[in-house]
Every structure is written in structure tokens, then in C-alpha cells.
Symmetry: C3
Subunit: 528 residues, 3 copies
Amino acid sequence: MRASSPFLCFLFFLVFSHGAFAQLFGFGGQSAWQSPRSFAGPRGCRFDRLDALNPTQRLRFEAGTVEYYDVHNEMLQCAGVSARRTIIEPRGLFLPQYNNAPSLLYIIQGRGIKGITFPGCPETFQSFQPESEQILTGTAESQSQRIRDEHQKVHRFKQGDIVALPAGVTYWCYNDGDVPLVAIQVFDVSNTANQLEPRQRSFFLAGRHLSGQQTYETGPESYETGPQAYEIEQQAYGAGRQAYEAGVRPIGMAPLRGNNIFNGFDTQLLAEALGVNAELARQLQAQNDPRGEIVFVPGGLRMLRPSRSQEIQQQEFEESMQAQEQFGESWQGPYNVTANGLDENFCTMKIRTNIDRPSRADYYNQRVGRIARVDSQKLPILNLVQMSATRVVLQRNAVITPHWCMNCHCGMYVTQGQGRVQVVNHQGRAVFDGTVRQGQFLLIPQNFAVLKRADPLQGFHWVTFNTNQNAMVSQIAGKLSTFKGMPLQVLMHSYRLSIEQARRLKFSRRNEYTLFTPRSPRTTLLDQ
Amino acid sequence: MRASSPFLCFLFFLVFSHGAFAQLFGFGGQSAWQSPRSFAGPRGCRFDRLDALNPTQRLRFEAGTVEYYDVHNEMLQCAGVSARRTIIEPRGLFLPQYNNAPSLLYIIQGRGIKGITFPGCPETFQSFQPESEQILTGTAESQSQRIRDEHQKVHRFKQGDIVALPAGVTYWCYNDGDVPLVAIQVFDVSNTANQLEPRQRSFFLAGRHLSGQQTYETGPESYETGPQAYEIEQQAYGAGRQAYEAGVRPIGMAPLRGNNIFNGFDTQLLAEALGVNAELARQLQAQNDPRGEIVFVPGGLRMLRPSRSQEIQQQEFEESMQAQEQFGESWQGPYNVTANGLDENFCTMKIRTNIDRPSRADYYNQRVGRIARVDSQKLPILNLVQMSATRVVLQRNAVITPHWCMNCHCGMYVTQGQGRVQVVNHQGRAVFDGTVRQGQFLLIPQNFAVLKRADPLQGFHWVTFNTNQNAMVSQIAGKLSTFKGMPLQVLMHSYRLSIEQARRLKFSRRNEYTLFTPRSPRTTLLDQ
Amino acid sequence: MRASSPFLCFLFFLVFSHGAFAQLFGFGGQSAWQSPRSFAGPRGCRFDRLDALNPTQRLRFEAGTVEYYDVHNEMLQCAGVSARRTIIEPRGLFLPQYNNAPSLLYIIQGRGIKGITFPGCPETFQSFQPESEQILTGTAESQSQRIRDEHQKVHRFKQGDIVALPAGVTYWCYNDGDVPLVAIQVFDVSNTANQLEPRQRSFFLAGRHLSGQQTYETGPESYETGPQAYEIEQQAYGAGRQAYEAGVRPIGMAPLRGNNIFNGFDTQLLAEALGVNAELARQLQAQNDPRGEIVFVPGGLRMLRPSRSQEIQQQEFEESMQAQEQFGESWQGPYNVTANGLDENFCTMKIRTNIDRPSRADYYNQRVGRIARVDSQKLPILNLVQMSATRVVLQRNAVITPHWCMNCHCGMYVTQGQGRVQVVNHQGRAVFDGTVRQGQFLLIPQNFAVLKRADPLQGFHWVTFNTNQNAMVSQIAGKLSTFKGMPLQVLMHSYRLSIEQARRLKFSRRNEYTLFTPRSPRTTLLDQ
């Protein structure tokens, strides 16, 4: 058919042109460049002193810990950003909750599965194999007939993944691996998806939260970093669990916590609305549940685990899909746009992508390091979440060119090693100058210039969370830089340089991108 | 190549249509999911106690009443929502005004016509029939030649209609029916269309507003509900009109009111600008006009009334159009995108749709009730207004599943009957637990969980106004619910249930949608 | 026709897919109509008294002046708008900076070149002609080999141009003309592109700003207007320059100023990051640079100047392009949408358009005046900047019809002459009634009604900056007006007019558009 070729070409043109995909299906937009956000902070917010933050509050539950980066920190409030780190022990289930703000998760360690329930999405996952049957039967009281279960898609994720969570969507999470699952989660509180209030709020669908868990106020010094820290933590969880079981009273109340939402309903009315008896309704209200937000699943959620070979197949399939996306060859998306089109899209939408594997890097140099970005082009759900992320691995002593984010704040979480960071405001004053270590979180405000150098011994690995689905970074030196884009004469007269100096400035890093080789200042560099 | 010509034409059509270029290339647009809104309230807003609001201020005019729901209510301010109810007597003309915020109207009772003047829209309506001629002549002093009038489109509406009004657009309204026209209007003050200030502001093009009308502060008890209330009101209006005519001084000043905008101009300058004499300019300033915002039209606005048969034809045409839209068969829209494309679109755009007729329901069950949604898909002007609405009729004793709005606040106005409502916040605390009655307005904040049950005697009919053009609701039980989307094992371990209990919970309402049959808690329900 | 079926299918697919309909026709979502902005001001902002503002702060630099319109003005803060006027002497270079908010510039006088560096845009401009070679060599110390330079596109602009500057983008500017270059620049601080804080902030890439420049607090009276004012200013600059050279201490510190961003970095670290030696890094930090933000280029930036004939060719080419755009014949845009598609677009995007030439007017009447609008349709980068502008030239005594902006604030800068202006708020009260003179800036809030009349002797020329990429103005009288769109009977009953008066009101200006002929109130005007 002769008509189809330009038509298809046009279709792909639309689908792959930047951001158009999102607009076509109606959940994108508000632009590749700008996120509509309101100023969360009072007018006096000036970002005139930044801190590398440690978690200041730790909540221990039966099978894990949630740690909050200072929720009263003025800078975070000003930026409308909130961060927490969650550690889930093996066979731990993070109980269902939803939040008033969208968020991105980076999986620091481990693997797991995550269920997200979009209203109206079909129950496309089934678990009715005889094998799982028996397991189910084992945990149930007395069932011998076949039990079949259908539910919405369950997403697998593992170390190095970015996972996107829209506001208002219910999610739960389960550690089906052998090591503690550790994730850093950053909420964009000022995102317009949040009309509620300029604070992060979690709405719990299960569990009991007002008491029963221990709260520790942790000073910046008390948190130990490094891989072994999780080991220590892991032992601590065990102790915490024993403490629960022994009925130890909590030391402090968690100010963010509440009961689950069923608690607020009249038990009888709730029973009626759900079509269950009062006893079951009371069970939902969980008034006697001491386990907290993360609970142990004794036998494991085995019915959800595809066989290892299936898993590998799925992995391979997803990767081939991602490769195709990057080369623009094909696109498997919502062709069936129905009256309920929006939901259909969400239902099949990918919520995660890996940014840690070297093969995913946008920039890679064995000696210097690598950078991998994920924006709304690579992961379209980010059009909805209006955030993006960048993974940077900086080898020992390497530097990243001075730069600023043109259209967003960046929250930086150090996953490994440490480095020297300087952040400069509009007055040319350093508002941060110090070392940022593993496990710390540093907010870098929009437009503020940043310079980072990796530690000579440990290197410097981090992930940044950006409050824009297409963060645009302007670099001062290097191949794609501001200096490179300016005429020599403008440089000469701006800085009172000789032409020789101006050329040195402009071309010194001209064949390198964002990351620079350690300690090799080229003092003379002529063209050709 | 034959294919290329329509293709290219379409490409250019896209490229040159207003704003589409931007969306195509990803830096324009905005989203079906999110409304960009700012937080209207101060940071301290917590929505920790909600009230079912009655109108607290009533303004009586010559031919009608405007009632405001507490403009000082902290919850409404926090949510950036403002509500008023307008009652226009037969032959009453609501004088032209425009507002700083978009709004949706729901027509509770009666019928009328509404004129909206978009700048630049053509005067496509003519009234020059000999018949109307004579009527015009009758009201004029001494005219015998043919008078022809052209003006912009006039929209008919009637009970059960949702009418959308963009910010800044001038509109007037006329009751050409036989019963008082009653409408509830909800403004989205925090909508980004409003850059002015976080309060609802009306700009009057006619009338005099500072004095001359009576203001009653009404307590929650003083407002009588039920169909007969309007009868009482109607008599009261009569009394009010007599009071006006007798020159009674107003009891209180309406704090929201001002003079019409012409008052602020120098009379001579105004006359010059309009090309009229000073006397006429003074007439516009209306300094001696005691009628208020709603005035009587002695002879009626007859030239605007198409013959009954024409009217029925138009109605049928519009309905057939709506049916087509729903089935996707055809679409009559702005094919002529000109340099003034934007205006062309607005000019032919539908501003109303009915959501009360049972045939419009998205969900219908004779015994339980019905639900009809109108979003930007059904009524595209809602993309501009960034609001949507839902009509719910709940039969006696029926319940609506616990749910929350994922992306907006909902303002709920009860049109008939009453019901028990519980609203739960993020701490699992009921911030509202009580009865909401006909005529009351309840704000339900984003993410807060709600449960509603109809009164056993009266049923419970309401309309919700959502601060998002595509409100997304997440339900806890029923066919499209959160429980339905979760694996049984997650339910089991979240709530410490046996598998039998989990299945009861998950499948008890599995064949019902949002509304549930009265009082039939199924205590046992097995699969198949 | 075989081509049509997939084409139509695709059309319907687009039209009916969720939300796409809206985006296609440009009124959807975020839209041609609305800019997502937050309220910059505290809740108490009422715009109840406006002032015609003069610059209150003047910063003198080596080769020019920057004047700020009262940055503490409550009305400007409420509206989220900031204005400054920049005067650059011939051969003056405005040093590179970027801002936290987008802005529009109107070139009041002179001509120049502007460089904008978008990250990732290619260096498509070369300067390696032998001629420029010699000039370069002249300014450099000792260079005899051929020097070739490549840099990003440089934009020419001249009197009457609107130039758009996105937030966060580095720009520099050079006066290559013979007269001082004068520009008024308005920032949209509340634009969502700015997540930083609700104030305008400049980040300097060069120069030293904390001291060395003189600050004058100027009262409203002290600023002389008229073409000769710039002459005076020009002499003053000369004096200012001598003062600099003589080492005079600054009188006051500029509160907005800071050092350039390099100052905040550790010199050694900076040198390493840039791959230059410490001496050069120190040079960037400019600690001994007394020149300020605008510096002299002794020999001129000659390599950037195309020959006069080339320039005229380019001009003609651009104009023919603009003409084509307006007639929709062709469009030269981003056909190569790559993985880096967004940047490609920005790279080739036009940032300026002329709105002062009579041939560009949307409305032109030799006797009355002219109006030229530039919105996102004419200049697509405005979709990004989310602002637009209007140029109005009102001849002596002419009036502009009373009107209001439906979807934005308007900042009005008077370029020549003066006029009487009245602004009326929602209470019908004049919040401004006075004369606005050349060089003054008046903020007109959204929805407020405005009436303007040109001075009988001087006429009244101004440019408005609108905080929306498609400002929509509603006019009260004239061909496209509110009165014109309303039925006669509605006018009659709204204002208690006879039919004769209503017709006079409706039709008095019916053949005129926005601008009206001076002093000819037609007291009688009948149809036909």
C-alpha cells in the first residue's frame, strides 16, 4: 500500500519526536523543558547555606527500616523536595500506601517486586499453577480445591533501577532476594500533581502506625556508611524485630505516621461498604497489628515468582525493547486507545529502567567514569511524574565540569565513595564547600553552579533526582559547553585574556565531555 | 506520489495550527493528568476538620439571589475553591460579568440561555425576523423601520447540564423558563488561569453593586432545603423586589461587591472612547440603578427564543452529536484553523453537556443508582477550564465504595436527599463524619479517603466539581478497585488474613462497580 | 483515494485519543491560553494602587548602565514581574550571564548582536576569514598563524525587535552600532521555569560586581526622557568611565549584585576542572576587574560582523521567511528530530522578531495608529518563554478601547510620548488614573479594565509585555468587542437603555478595531 510509508514515517516521527509521544496519549506535556511547580517555601527562601544531609529519623518495623532526611530542613522545604531511604529485609513486604506527591526510587542494593494499582487497569497477571497452589494451600487453613488469583501487573526491579511512582497511586513492594533491599526515594512535593499541601504525606492502606515502632533521632555523625553499614543495619533489624516480639514500648512517636485509612471509618459502615463482616473490617483497621509498615512474609510471596528461566526471558525481552527504543526501530505501546485510553496507557507502561549498568551509560570512559541519564524520552512515565534522574560514576580524582541545572533542582544521593563538592549561588558565593559521603543527600538548587571532584582513594558514585522530566544542564567547559559556544573574542574581552589564553580556556577540554581526566591541566593547547 | 498530499497537508495543518507546533516538539502542552495549580493556602493548611457548608451570605437583587458558601472558610481557601448558588427568577437577566477564575456550573433546576463573548468570535446569531421586529419595536420608543441584530452564539441549557466558563470571559444569563433557575457554580481559584490573587473576583460590566441590595448573613440552620424551599425563596424574591421598589435601605454591604467597571472611568473619557455622548456613558456607569446583579426583563428577551420546533431540532442535533462523539464516528470541529485559529475554536466550542439524564450515565443500576462523569474527553473545553464534574445518584441505603481522588480536590454539592459521609486523612483520622444534606457543599481534599451511604428514606443525589480536567478516582473495593488489583497473598500478609478471608475481601464486590447494593454483606463468597 | 484511509484513521486516532484533540488544536492543556504560574505575592496582594514606575536604581559600568524598576515595588512582586533597562554604549559588551526567569527584551534604540549558548547546540558559526584574522592578531600578543574560531549562532537585532530569552540560558550582547543600544527587559519571575525563588536573579559568568560600580538611587523626577536623554546619559557614561579609571570609590553597593560564579570556586579546583593553570583560573574569577557588567571592547568585535551586503541579504532572507510564515507557505524548522531533538530545535530557533515596522502591524490606520502583536504563533520560542508582547503606536489624541487582558498581567513600557491611562479594578474603582510618560513602566493586572488616550501633542507609543504566550484581550467597544457580541436586548436591559441608545452603544465604533479616531463622538448613528 503506497500510502502507508509516509504515514508510518509520520507516525514514528510523532512518536519519537521529543515528548510528542506523551502529548499524543494525553498524559504528557507541560513540556520537555518546564515543570509547573509552585514555590513551596516562604518568600524568604534564599538557599544561602546548604548541608550534606544524613537521615535524622529512623523508623524500625518488623522487617525493615524507613529513614527520613531531615523533614524540617529549610532547604528541602524551599525546594519542595523530600527524601527517604527504605531498607527491606529479605521476605519483607512494604505494605500498600499512596503518596500526595510523585517520586522516583533508585535501588541501591538488592532486588524485589513492586505492585502498582492503577484504577481501571485489568488484572492481567494470574497465579494458578498447581505448584503455587500448594504453597498457597500451605499458608491457608484448610483449602484443597484449586485456587486461582488474578491481579494487576507486578514489576520486577533490582539494583541500579530507577522506579517512577505517580502521585496518588497505591504501591506495595516485596524483597524476594537474599540481601536487604535498599532504596532511596525522592518526592517532588511542589509538583502540581500535589494539590494537597507542600509536605510529603503517606496514606497507608494497611498496618498500624501510631505506636509499636521505635523512632531514633539520629545525628549526622551516627550514621555509618559503606557496604558494611547495611550489614550492621541488618543485624540491627533482627534486634528490632526481637524488640517488637518482646513487646518493647517505642521510644518516640513518629510525627509523620498515622493509622491506616480504614481506621478512620466506622467499622460497621466499612464492613457494609466492602461487603464483608465486621470482624474482617476490624482486621483491616489493624488496631492490634504491631508490625509497622514493613512486615515479614513467613513463607515468602512465592506465587509471584516466575521460574528463573522465565525471569531471564523477561529480562532479555525488556532489554531488547529498550535497545529498540533507543534506536527508534519499533515501539510497543498503547495502540488500543479506548474510551478508557488513559488507563490503558498506564496499565502497560514501564515504570522502571536501569541506569547503573555501564552499557546504559550516555557517556563512558573507563578511566574517568560514566554518566547515564533517564528522562521522559527514555521512560515516558516521567512525563507524568515530571522528574528525571542521572547516574554518575566518577573514578578516583576525576572531576565533573562546573555546570548548573537550567530548569530544576537536583537532589544528589551518594551511593558509594565520597567527593569534594562546591556549590555557588548568584552572588558568586560558595553556599556549600565540603565533602559529601556515601549515604548523604545534598540538594543543589536550580541555576546554582556546581563543581565535583572524586576522592583520590574511593571514587565518587551518586545519583541525582531532578525536579523536571527533562533536566537541562549547562556545562562551563568541555565539548558541549558554554565556553565552547562563545566566540573567542567574547572570552577575551570578558576575562581580559590574551587570544592565547582565550584559546587555552576554550579548547583545553574540547575533546572531553562532562567528566574530565584527573589532574592533567593542559597548560598549552593550540588548534590542529 | 498520491499519499503525500494529504500527508503533507496534515503535517502543515499540525505545524501551523495554533500551539500544536509547540506540543509536537515537546515543549508545549500539559497533561491530561495534572492541572498546574499553586497552593492557595498558607503552609499551615492541614484540612484537619471539614464542614458541610451552607451558604452564609445571601444577596438579593431585583430578579434573583446569589448565595455564597463561606468565603472565609479556611478549607475552601486552602483548596483554592469557591462556591456560590445563583437563583434567577423567570424573565430574570443575570447581568454581564467576568471572573478571575474558571468555573463549572451545574443547573439544579430550570432552563435558560447564556451568552458568552469570546473576543474575536463572529456574530453568527441573527435576530431580524419580522416577528421579533415587532417585539423590539414595542419596547423601543419610536421605531418603525426594520431592525436587525447580530451577536455571538447564545447557548441554551437546562436542568442537569454542566456549563463550563473559562476565566476572563464575559457571560450573561437569562431565565426563559417558567420556574426559578437554580445553579451551583464552583470556581477553581488556584487554577493557573488566575494570575490575579487567590480569591474569587467578579468584574461587573453592568449594574450597581455597592448598595441597593440586601445582604443576609445566614446561619447553617436558616436555609431550608427541598423543592419547596425554592418556592419559599421565590416568594421572598417578590418581597425583595417590592423592598427595592419601596426604596428600603440595604441592611448590610456585600463585601464582595463593587460597582461595575465603567464606574472607575472618567465619564467624558469613557464617552469619547466608546464614541457615545456623556449621557449614555453615565448610563453605563449605572450610578442610579437599584436593580443589582439580576434584573427583570419586562417583556422577556423574546428575539432570542427560537420557535419551539427549532429548539427541539437543535436539541436533537446536539444530542446526536454527543452520541457520535461517544462512539467516535465523527467530529465537527475547527477544521478552519486560521491565523486567528484559537478564537475560531472557542467560537464553535460546546460549553455544556448534560450529566443528569440516565442515558448519559457511565454506570447505571436501577436499584443502586448511577454515575455520570464529564471530563475533557467528553467536553473538550474542560481542557481549558481544567475542571471536571461527576453526577452521582445513590438510591436509598446504597453505598459508594471507599475511594480517593488521586489528582484533585472534589467539591460535593448535594442536589437531593441526604447521606452519611466519612472523610479520612493521611493519619487515618476522620476529618468529617456526619450527614450532608440537600443544598450543602462539602470539600473533599485530594487523596483523602471517602465513604458515602445514602439515607434510607430519601436517597442521596449529588454532583462533584473536580479541580482537574480528568479526575482520577481510586476505589478500594469493587470491580475496578485496589483490592481487586492486588495479589491475594499481599492482602493476606498486609492484614494478617487467612486465605479464605483474603478471598472474601477481594471478591466480595467483584461484580459490582463503584456503587453497591444496600445492606447485603456477603459473609461467604467463594470463587465459581 | 488509497492514501486517505490510513490518514483519516490516524486523524481520528489523534482526535479521539485522550487529550490529544486538545493539544492538536492548541487550546488544550497548558495551552495556548494559560501559563502555569504561581502567585508570587503573599495572600494580601490586592493591586489596589498602581504607580507609573521610574527606574529607582542605576548601575554604571565601564560601557553602559543597567537601571532597575523598583525591585521592592509591591505590585511588581505581586504580579511576579521584574523590569530593567539596559543601555550599552557603542563597542560595549554586556558580559555573559544567565537568569532564573525567562524574559523578553524590546530594543528601544540601536542595534547589536546577541549570543545565546544552548547546551549541546553545535558551533555552526565560523570566523576564519583572513580579514578578521588580522584584527584578531592585532589584539593578541604574538600570533601570526591563521586562527580559526567556531561558536554557536549569533543573533543580530535592532530597534523595534522583541528578543526572547529562556530561563537559565547564558547570553551576552554587543553593541556594534553607532548609537547607544537601549533595551527594556521584563522578567516573568513567577513563570514555572523559575523554581528557585520569586525574585529575579542574575548569575554572572564574568566580571566583578560587588564593588567598583556606582549606584544611584534615582527618584521618579530625576530621570529625563526623550531622545536627548540618552545623549546626556552617554556623556555621563564617559564621566563614569573616567571615574572608574581614576579609581573613584563606589557611592553605594548594588543589593542585587554579586561576584561572578567562578569566584565561589576554589581557584586550584577550578583550574583543574577547566584544564587551565591557576593564573588563568584567577583571571576568570576577575577579582581585580573594575569594569562591571558592561565593558568596552577597544577594537570592536569585528570578526562577528558580516559585510554590510551579507547583512542586508540576511535581513531580506529573514523577512521573506517571516512573510512566508504569516502566509503559511513554508516552514523551516526542526526536521531532523534526533535523540537530542529538543536541543536541535532550540539551536535553530528564532529568538527575535520585529514589531515596530508598520508593515508588521496587525492593525494599521495612518491617522489613528497601529498595533503589532507577537505571540507564540509568530515566534514559537514564546511557547518556552511563556510571554508575549504587543507594540502600540497611538497617534495624537487617539484612544484605545477599554479592554482587559483575560489571561495575564501586562507590563507597559512607554517608548515615546505620553498619555492618559485609567485602570479599574473589580470593585469599579480606578486604581490608576494619571499620565504615563516616556521611560515609565506601568503594571496592569490581569482582568483589570484599562483605557488609554494619547497626548494631544506627542502621541503615545508603548510596548506591553504579557505574562502569557498568547495574551487574550477582551475589548469593550469596536469591531471585535464585547458589546458587539451581545444582543441588543441584553444591552438595553443591562443598562436601561432605549433601543436607540443600545444601537448607538453597540454600533458606534462598529467599523473600527481597537484604536479609535480622536475626538469624534458620534452622537447619532443608525444602521444603514
